[in-house]
């Protein structure tokens, strides 16, 4: 009974996302969509991947990190440098998966190396330490020669921007979504959620806290890295300053806005946060002001206890039950 319901929810998420992807594809390929619309597609996918992966840490593991952009940058630099190196030696269809995997693995390795010492910390202390690691990574990238310093890398092949290659981004979002969903609804995912709900109880039934925390951290870092590689191959350049703590906070905004521990929530919020600032271009100078107000308003509407109670009263599910109840009465 329960199992079916769960599968239905997951399938619904997959289905709606697939439908949206098809719709976007049709709009772009038939030329109905504007260029602005098209240029938003890949950044949106990048944000979705980042939000899904951060949600694993913040939503499911229940730990606050402010260094997600650091993993993104490590993955981006690793993958994009390899891509620059390999360009011309092999077809794109081979090179892209290879460099994405590489970027993801390097980021995951960083996640492991950083995770081992810092995951002993909790709460805001962990948040600060991850923020610190993100900034250290940025500082190091700025000081290394092969990363180009402040000038960054400017010759990353812009494969994803060209033609219909944005479809690759769709595929990546789906892979991220499926992996994260599968993880969450597995033994390992349950252990991770159990740690969030009650660490002490989880420990007492033999769950290895460090292992599962690291697992969540490493998988999240992996996808952040892949998202970074995707970002680099869309924009064609990397700049260490674009992966600072502000970027980490932006991802966190998406996760919290969508609801911690809600996978479809992350997807929807990524959409909102990517699209709203562009839609608000009509406000020109007042763009960011309006954005700030929208952010605060959405947050209050979405998360305040009073609004939640109100929503529960008027929820679609409740209405549906009411209608069904009446019908049943009539039949009786």
């Amino acid at each position: 009974m329960k199992k079916k319901k769960l599968n239905l929810r997951v399938l619904l998420t997959y289905g709606i996302l697939a439908a949206v992807c098809v719709l976007v594809f049709v709009l772009i390929e038939t030329g109905v969509a504007s260029r602005q619309f098209k240029s938003l597609v890949v950044p949106l996918c990048v944000n979705m991947m980042l939000a899904l992966s951060l949600n694993l840490i913040v939503g499911f593991l229940g730990e606050l990190t402010l260094g997600h952009a650091g993993f993104m940058s490590v993955g981006a630099y690793a993958g994009c440098l390899l891509s620059v190196y390999l360009e011309g030696t092999m077809p794109m269809a081979l090179r892209l998966p290879l460099v994405m995997l590489f970027g993801g693995l390097v980021a995951a390795l960083f996640g492991l190396v950083i995770g081992i010492p810092v995951l002993r910390l909790k709460g805001d202390y962990l948040a600060i330490v991850t923020l610190a690691f993100g900034e250290i990574i940025r500082s190091i990238i700025l000081n290394l020669d092969f990363t180009g310093g402040a000038a960054g890398i400017n010759n990353v092949p812009r494969d994803i921007y060209r033609g219909s290659n944005y479809l690759i981004a769709f595929v990546l979002v789906f892979i991220t979504l499926i992996v994260i969903t599968n993880l969450v609804y597995s033994k390992q995912g349950r252990a991770i959620t159990a740690i969030r709900d009650n660490r002490i109880a989880a420990e007492s039934i033999g769950i290895n806290i460090t292992y599962y925390k690291l697992l969540a951290f490493v998988i999240a870092a992996f996808f952040a890295g892949v998202a970074g590689v995707l970002y680099g191959h869309n924009i064609g350049q990397l700049d260490a300053n674009k992966f600072d703590y502000n970027r980490s906070i932006e991802i966190l905004v998406i996760v919290v806005l969508g609801g911690m521990g809600s996978i479809p929530g992350s997807l929807i919020a990524a959409g909102l946060i990517t699209v709203i600032p562009e839609v608000l271009r009509t406000f020109s100078d007042y763009r960011l002001l309006v954005y700030a107000i929208v952010l605060i308003a959405v947050m209050i509407i979405n998360a305040s206890p009073r609004m939640q109670a109100l929503r529960a009263r008027f929820s679609v599910r409740r209405l549906w039950k009411l209608i069904r109840g009446r019908r049943r009465k009539k039949e009786a």
Binding site: I16, G152, I235, G236, E278
Partner: protein
Amino acid sequence: MKKAICMLLVCALLSLCLVGCGNDGNSDYTLVIGGIGPTTGVAATYGTAVKNGAQLAVNEINAAGGINGMQIKYLFEDDQHNPETAVNAYNTLMDKGMQILMGTVTSKPCIAVAEVAREDNIFQITPSGSAVDCIKYDNAFRICFNDPDQGTASAQYIKQQNLAQKIAIIYDKSDVYSTGITEKFEAKAGELGLNIVAKEAFTSSSATDFSAQLQNIKNADADLVFLPIYYEAAAYILTQSKSAGLETKFFGCDGLDGVIDQLGEQNAAAAEGVMLLTPFVATAEDAKTKKFSQDYKAAYGEMPNQFAADAYDAIYTIKAACEKANVKGDMSVSDICNALKAAMLQIEIDGLTGKMTWSANGEPNKEPKAMKIVNGIYEAM
């Protein structure tokens, strides 16, 4: 169910920007020039200056009858100094029928946009994107100097005038402009036998307190500090060096222009004696600069900086090139670009930032002027 509604909402928003950007069709009598730059975020000063400087030029040209009889429609989009946003801004402008691109203001976004602009073969002229890669394609030109040239020129000038024996550098490690100049400056200085005794860095996240850097320079006993940075950070350095009792000469590049206004009356003493190589100073006495500065101040309440001047010149350069190439309203974006590319090599502009001609690589040929701040105003050296 709630999810479905939310997803629909996102779709609705997406389609809103789908519908919102139709072309208004009849562009026979207008020439659409698009501008891109940061008007919000930490680099907002530069973008705003460019936006305003160009607007002044557009107003003047439109009042005088436009370009080849066409009025200019000038559109400006914010990029928050972010390459991704800059590409979005570019595409938004393309949706709105942009025919010529004046931008972008900052280097990294400019490089990203240059890639896309090349694919569209749209004519691009950046007022202030100074990294070499900003104009690596043949459809792109620039008004400002590029970073390496400034570094080389500065070292040469210091050597020629024999300004210093021991040179210290303070540069912004996180900024392309600053690292670009510094790199070439060091190379040239080495070549010329100038002695660099200290090289101190800061980053965008520590750009207000310079006590340690200044102390290091003091320890190194430098007699000139080279500042390949923008005037905001320079203002901090100059005021703090005064209170730290550091008595060296200061030498900067075009980014330093604007430092007098930044310092304001109360800190004016800190700017005394600062030297810079720049194509433009807002307080210059020639009629053109005077009028520009007055108009700018009247319209926007503050003195223009070099960015505003570059943008002003960029618009007039577009005008001159369009007239030379006899650009017509019914020409396609790509045709305009091809015509302008040829015309750019033939025109000569006597702008706010000096007399300019262009070579095929898109770089302007113009002479920087060496200036020194004396009694609160610039004096030619």
